[in-house]
Symmetry: C2
Subunit: 422 residues, 2 copies
């Protein structure tokens, strides 16, 4: 049992309020939130939060973590050059061991930024599972098949293998994108999703070219086309959703799908600004992801929240566009639920102890007129003092507790990167 | 004398290269950059940089530092409501002691983010001078008069008082903006600038309404109108420049004026995206500022560089738009020169020792394929390990050496904020 006392607590339950109090954990679970008891049980550790903030950890609802190896490898080049000359040829050389190593590098960055779970779409899922389990983090794998109907068999094999493999590992059906697969795949996947009563996730309407291409190919936008095939009878969601119009959003609203926005990646790759204001006004379910670290370039929920908020002001030319708290909600509660982590969404008794402590004494968090707004508009990952996943402290004041030292991870990845990019 | 060894050094001299070596300081000056000598003099301190990066510190070329007290006070409201209901009435209550206190709060944030100099436009300049001198930072004050010709006298009195007051303090002629002053002020200020052979700075074309308003009032855009009055015979520059068209940029090019961009503030207040791509293509002089912390909301050069770079990709719908290194140059060398700090611009023997050390071992800076690009696209202020101004270490590994503790500053500002915003 761990006790945090002298804390400010933002549970992220509605309506958002910050209250003074304490929080206890028992094993992987939050066992108490409230005022100080007169009589206290025996704790393994008691942490004086010193007036700092406890809140749910961030969850990264879209990423390709192992792309850490290509970060800053080729910048400021056109998207097609980047993908075909600087990404694909190097990804072809990756081994399972490389992916494990580069996932561990990403995990260092996730934990220092207060992220405890990531929704990962990449090669070699066994490697990602191993890296996540060993570190103490959560990972939800997302199917990433492309091609045609025959590939759905491989997806199903992965799904059956990973769905119950570990309490901190999840699996969601998914495919890369409409434009990298054919109709036979979409139909076969819809059948599988219906048989298993499972949600389905995919990249969708990230670029205008891809969105318009689907209309040419199928006579409908990706969202409308995929809905018509019965892909989303049991929910799911889409990554990016930049070029969504009203009819696309209506599909997402009707089916209860997750609109998973990646504002930094969409800016860096010049994909566009997603319609978050409309999305919130229409009551859609909003979550936030970083996308891979080669197209972002950080794995940092604070950067996503900041861009998520301020780009709406530019898109709408309205300083009042979207409340800052709405992106905070999306990056914590929303992303957790999108990934199926409904027991890690808010801080409450009985929920998983996936939480962070934020330094409210740092100059950039002062004055604390409105803490949720400060987290989005002036907060950054240097304010993360402690990151806990499933009741275990994995990061505290710059130190990691993940069973391996950062130095060892850096040494290992440096050798692999030299080999891969030579 | 201080010695940094085992360092990677990015002097920011052209062409940009990162080389291994060491750097020595002697008093406030850089006395040596190069390889390790066989024989070393006696040093006061020897710092093993452990492969981390030494580079010029950031300079903040536009700010209203003391607005820290209003940070997160009113968010997501229309600009006019914010200014007239949430800023002006509270600023009216400020005393000189308040400004000193809130400047000290800003200085904590500046130093932790690697900023050693700020170009400040606000009330009670004596307070800002005192806060800067005591902390060890540099400040360049910018005149902020509005009104009519008679106010120029007050500006000149300030100019004469502060121009040579201290080696780390500067003063530049300036006025708030075209739309808050009349033609008699602009003409009188032009006369003063010509008599003193001094540059002049002002807010310019920040919002479309203000830009268009000037065309209505004077039949020309702010840049063209002010040039026609002879305001910029000896240079100067403009803050924001969001709505600059080709003719406005031509004025800046012709006069050698500084285009001082504030991308975060312009996004948060929905002012727009400044034409940095055109600005660079046309060879204009580019510098970077944060604007005040109530309209940003951070005093963080990393956020400015990131937005500065990626917003150009969105504005131009081109992932190749503007090299990341160009905003790094603007936020260091450019901003220093815009403020007249030509001896603090790059790292070189004989220059002032205004520098920072960046942690290259942090996960978000790995792999180090291209360090200038990483600083802009994945770097953040948590990577700043050490900040030195005029040869003195003012910040190192989270600790401040500014003659006052952060706790004392926070306690003081909390009391003042409670009084001001009650």
């Amino acid at each position: 049992m761990i006790r945090f006392y002298n804390a400010k607590i933002l549970t992220m339950e509605e309506p958002l309020t910050v209250r003074d109090g304490e929080l206890w954990t028992d094993g992987d679970t939050i066992s108490y939130i409230g005022e100080t008891h007169a009589e206290l049980p025996q704790f393994e550790r008691e942490i004086n939060a010193d007036g700092n903030l406890l809140m749910p950890s961030f969850k990264n609802a879209h990423t390709h973590s192992a792309m850490t190896f290509l970060r800053s490898f080729a910048e400021d080049v056109p998207l097609q050059t980047w993908l075909f000359e600087k990404v694909f040829p190097y990804e072809d050389r990756l081994t399972a061991e490389d992916v494990y190593a580069f996932d561990r590098l990403a995990i260092l960055e996730y934990l220092a930024a207060g992220t405890t779970a990531f929704f990962d779409m990449y090669f070699y899922p066994d490697s990602t599972v191993q890296a996540a389990i060993e570190s103490g983090m959560r990972a939800v794998l997302c199917g990433s098949i492309n091609g045609s109907a025959k590939d759905v068999e491989r997806l199903n094999a992965q799904f059956q293998k990973f769905r119950h493999i570990h309490p901190r590992i999840g699996y969601r059906l998914g495919f890369h994108a409409e434009y990298t697969s054919d109709e036979s795949l979409h139909r076969e996947l819809a059948r599988l999703a219906q048989a298993e009563k499972e949600p389905v996730f995919t990249h969708i309407s990230e670029t205008k070219a891809e969105h318009d291409g689907c209309i040419e190919r199928h006579g409908a936008s990706p969202a409308q086309y995929l809905e018509s095939l019965g892909l989303w009878e049991y929910g799911g969601g889409g990554f990016h959703c930049v070029w969504f119009d009203q009819a696309d959003r209506a599909v997402f609203q009707r089916r209860g799908l997750w609109f998973i926005t990646c504002p930094c990646s969409n800016a860096k790759l010049a994909s566009g600004i997603a319609p978050l204001k409309e999305c919130l006004a229409e009551g859609l379910l909003l979550a936030v992801g970083t996308d891979g670290p080669a197209s972002n370039n950080a794995l940092d929920p604070f950067k996503e929240m900041y861009l998520g908020a301020v780009l709406q002001k530019l898109r709408n030319m309205d300083a009042a566009a979207i409340p800052a708290a709405s992106v905070l909600r999306a990056a914590t509660v929303g992303s957790a639920r999108a990934m199926g982590l409904t027991d890690c969404d808010v801080l409450a008794q009985g929920k998983q102890a996936d939480l962070i402590m934020i330094d409210l004494h740092a100059a950039n968090m002062q004055p604390a007129h409105h803490i949720p707004e400060s987290l989005v508009l002036s907060g950054d990952r240097s304010n993360v003092k402690l990151t806990m996943c499933a009741g275990k402290i994995l990061y505290e004041n710059g130190e990691y507790f993940i069973g391996v030292s950062p130095e060892e991870i850096l040494k290992d990845t440096a050798q692999r990167i030299a080999r891969l990019t030579q």
